[in-house]
Amino acid sequence: MELKTLCELNGASGQEGAVRKAVLEAARPLCDDVHIDRMGNVIAFKKGRTGNRHILFSAHMDEVGFIILDATDDGLLIFRPVGGIDPRVTVSKYVLAGEKKLKGVIGALAIHLQTAEDRKRVLGYDNLYIDIGAKTKEEALADCPPGSYAYFDSAYQPFGDGCVVSKALDDRVGCYNLLRLLEGEYDADITCAFVTQEEVGLRGATGAAFAAQADTVIVLEGTTAGDMGAVEKARRVCEPGLGVVVSFMDNASIANRSLYQELLALAERKAVPCQIKRGSTGGNDAGAYQRSKAGVRTCVLSVPCRYIHGPSSVVKLSDVEAQYALAKAYAESAK
């Protein structure tokens, strides 16, 4: 399945249905058993030639999005983010709202009408609205009742030198590479878990980890690259173009030391472009896996992603390839 197809599906936390359906259909012919678990995760199992080891690769299906709370008397939708979206990236953006995917925009007070104070102040979600053209509250809520979701209306576009810009690259890059891993043949048993609700607290992975039988978990993620705009070198935790990012720790987990070293050595041996994440920002599903049951060893392999959690996140495709290459090399090395 194309990365473009996966990115252009809408699936905020709690509403991953479209992604789940696509992933389920793509995974079915590639594995021995595939099922949907109690948290809505898609668990795809592939029996290995020896089955001496069992590796679980995980990526999350959900993306950040918006949820509708109410509407104003003149028909503007009141909304909040699902997952962390800096309100500063929502101003003047295109959205699709409700089940009918109605086209809309997030408008804000025109510059001419702002006071000097307004110009400095960040517009919070109390002052932002989705405009779908509705004239009244009733009309707006008939189409988008409270609890409906809205998404950035944001196409996947290649640009620059081997880069793409899209919404939801975090973590459809991971889903994309999980599906590719299922195409291989391995000695070890392999589970690919496409999990839900990462963006609202690693909730899907917590359920998946409880049922998992694996001895090792590798999480495939998209991670923040804040490298552009004259950021000092010391503050750039990773950079697009330098390969897959291996984390020694983040805010949710500490990588298993031997696994971490094994992955770095493997990258060197197989000439997979690889960079160590030079910081411990962020957190992801590895935290849920690591502390499940009696504990599981984990490590995170990420694709550096600029402007993450926005309508226009950017990755370099060579890094997506590097993530796949290193995960595959690890799966093949497990005897």
């Binding site: 110009r119 102040r121 804040g226 552009m228 920002t281 600029r306």
Partner: protein, 346 residues
Amino acid sequence: MKIEDFLREVTAIPGVTGNEGAAADYIADAFRPYADEVRVTPLNCVVARQKGEGPKVLICAHLDEIGMMVSRIEEDGSLRLQSVGGVDPRVLPGMRVRVYAREGMLLGVVGATPPHLLKEADRKNNYNWDTLFVDLGMDAEQVRQKVRLGDTVCFEARYVEMKNDRVATKTADDRACVAIMLEAARRLRQMAHQADLYFVATCQEEIGSYGALISGFALEPDMGVAFDVCHAETPGAPRNSTSKITSLVTSKGPFLNSFLVKKLEETAKENGIELQFAVDPRYTSTDADELSVTRAGVPTVLLSLPIKYMHTNVETLDMHALKEGGRLLAHYLAAIQGSWEDELWN
């Protein structure tokens, strides 16, 4: 050509102030079927004439748009921008922009220093021209080969059709009003009119109405009809500065000729067209300000189309109001008589 199709196409064309050539050529072609003569002036104003024996009337709406220019290329290849006209930098983070470089258009993404790298105090502030940049997805060396300082940068352009005939697009300010002029010109082809009509799509409004200034000088009109957008109601907007999105607005005030305003009001009534009123005690901040004092003076009336979210890529208008605006303008221009000139100051 359907007016919706014109608006969709014309708003997609880049035409940042000072760089309006492509927009001017497109607009000139659109007026050709309805005009006796059409020309593009050296500064990229479009002048389309419908001949008449009566008073010479200049009708204008501006074709230029706000945008940006590349002001610096950083060591890492990111571009810093400077505003051309009043761009609100709050709308930029996460926007896909178009950089018009030597060898063609490059897609760029507006990025900003991520929150975790900002100082605590800066997290509470909006991003500004110092913290925003354009990422072209290539290394610095490639960027330097392709991009030069001063290259034009344009907003993302999409034409979003919403409920109730509402449309969100870049450059509704002011090409929606150019569309109203075109609609009026189309209607006037089937109507009798005394006035000698000059429809002018003006350049360089966003930095000071220079297109109206030079067009007024060149054409020496007897009367002027200036067209621009005004603010439609949105949350947080002061009531006195906004109008309903559903119909055109005309302004009253010292810069605007009260006889011409009265005639406009009568035309709207006679033809059953909704018209709102606004009050501008001094500047209108439109082409009307310059036009009305060009040469020995041009008695001028101002018509405005209310839009939401002005000076963004999602300027939102009501298509019904736009079409009715075309009808109103056509009837108004057809009503102009030579005798009006004697009554202008009565």
